[in-house]
Symmetry: C2
Subunit: 213 residues, 2 copies
């Protein structure tokens, strides 16, 4: 693909944190910021911050730092916060409902437009302003509305079947909260988010007194 | 600390997935399972599964595999699913409420007993059966009830102050969903779970067509 650049995943994960900090500074009227300022605000190492920010191609000036608005634009461009990806939620349970209710996702380019569930009691209801449709309507809705992104919050046993259906109707990416590693066609993006795995690491670290991640 | 063992974090993250798969097999009446069976069920590499399972110290037999109940016990012992850590939730918003409503956490050793919020409209209410207390009651509750674990679902700007208070009243571990790297005393465990960082990686992978994680 033309214009594809490679960014290290740990860098991508830190960029939203930098963005939050420099926005807070901008709101206080500052117009310039150094890597050290950002590092101090986040308890990070300033050399790592400087390396990460180099990917934005925004250049700082000695003793002045980066121009804040340039840096905000540079980070937003990398992490896609300027996009507006309409997304469907599949599985309108507790976790799914919470994700739809978090206003931060829309600000960051992920825009929930509808939810799907196989529970008849939920179908036809609205959750945080989005209508819940029957899972049988999934393909039709996705094709009619040119949806490319799905967020999967259903139990593991049902996840692969839904993923197969999503792959067939043009979905390009799945943010997968189910506890299953999905098989998908080449080129389809699956981003796994596994809270139970995170809890396991937390519990082991608590038991062993290991304070490092 | 005596008896501390080191487990690789990627191994710990995979163990809950193995546990789910072999439990499903046990429910169907199976009593033995091989690493290859587990690998096939999860689209994993069987050599990796075998290495991970070696940490349980359960030994499989050639052509038979592992005795399922032994393996379940061995995995549960590592990842702490047999513990019962009473936990407080701090920040009873959408995400916090969803976490409390997920029955899977209690089954996995994390037992929410109360929530705290600074919104007077929420204080005194119940969310998924747990009472919401005022944030001013935090220290008293934690000390009276010998709580050692806190789950933090508050905005970044408030997170460090709360973490400082938690450190002073005996909390040993924080599962941190706020977007801030917390400064805590040596020995205190902070496990970060950052959904916004996960979204950033997802958006970059979508934009660049990078299907590998």
């Amino acid at each position: 693909m033309d214009g594809v650049k490679k960014y290290p995943v740990p860098t991508i994960r830190r960029l939203p944190l930098y963005l939050r900090v420099i926005r807070e500074m901008a709101e206080k009227g500052r117009t310039a910021v150094s890597a050290t300022d950002i590092a101090n605000a986040l308890n990070f190492d300033s050399i790592k911050v400087r390396k990460d920010l180099a990917y934005t191609q925004v250049t700082g000036k000695p003793r002045v730092g980066y121009q804040i608005q340039e840096l905000i634009n540079g980070i937003r461009a990398i992490i896609g916060w300027d996009r507006n990806a309409p997304a469907v939620l599949i599985g309108a349970g507790n976790l799914g409902s919470a994700l739809m209710g978090f206003p931060g996702f829309a600000k960051r380019g992920l825009n929930f437009v509808a939810a799907f569930d196989n529970n008849p009691a939920k179908v036809g209801q609205e959750i945080h302003g989005r209508k819940v449709y029957a899972l049988t309507d999934l393909e039709r809705y996705i094709e009619d509305n040119h949806i490319e992104v799905a967020v999967l919050t259903i139990p593991a046993f049902a996840a692969q079947e839904v993923a197969d259906r999503l792959a067939k109707c043009g979905i390009r990416g799945i943010w997968n909260f189910s506890q299953l590693k999905l098989k998908v066609p080449a080129g389809m993006v699956v981003q796994n988010e596994n809270l139970v795995s995170g809890l396991a690491v937390f519990m082991v670290r608590l038991a062993t007194g290991c304070s490092e991640e």
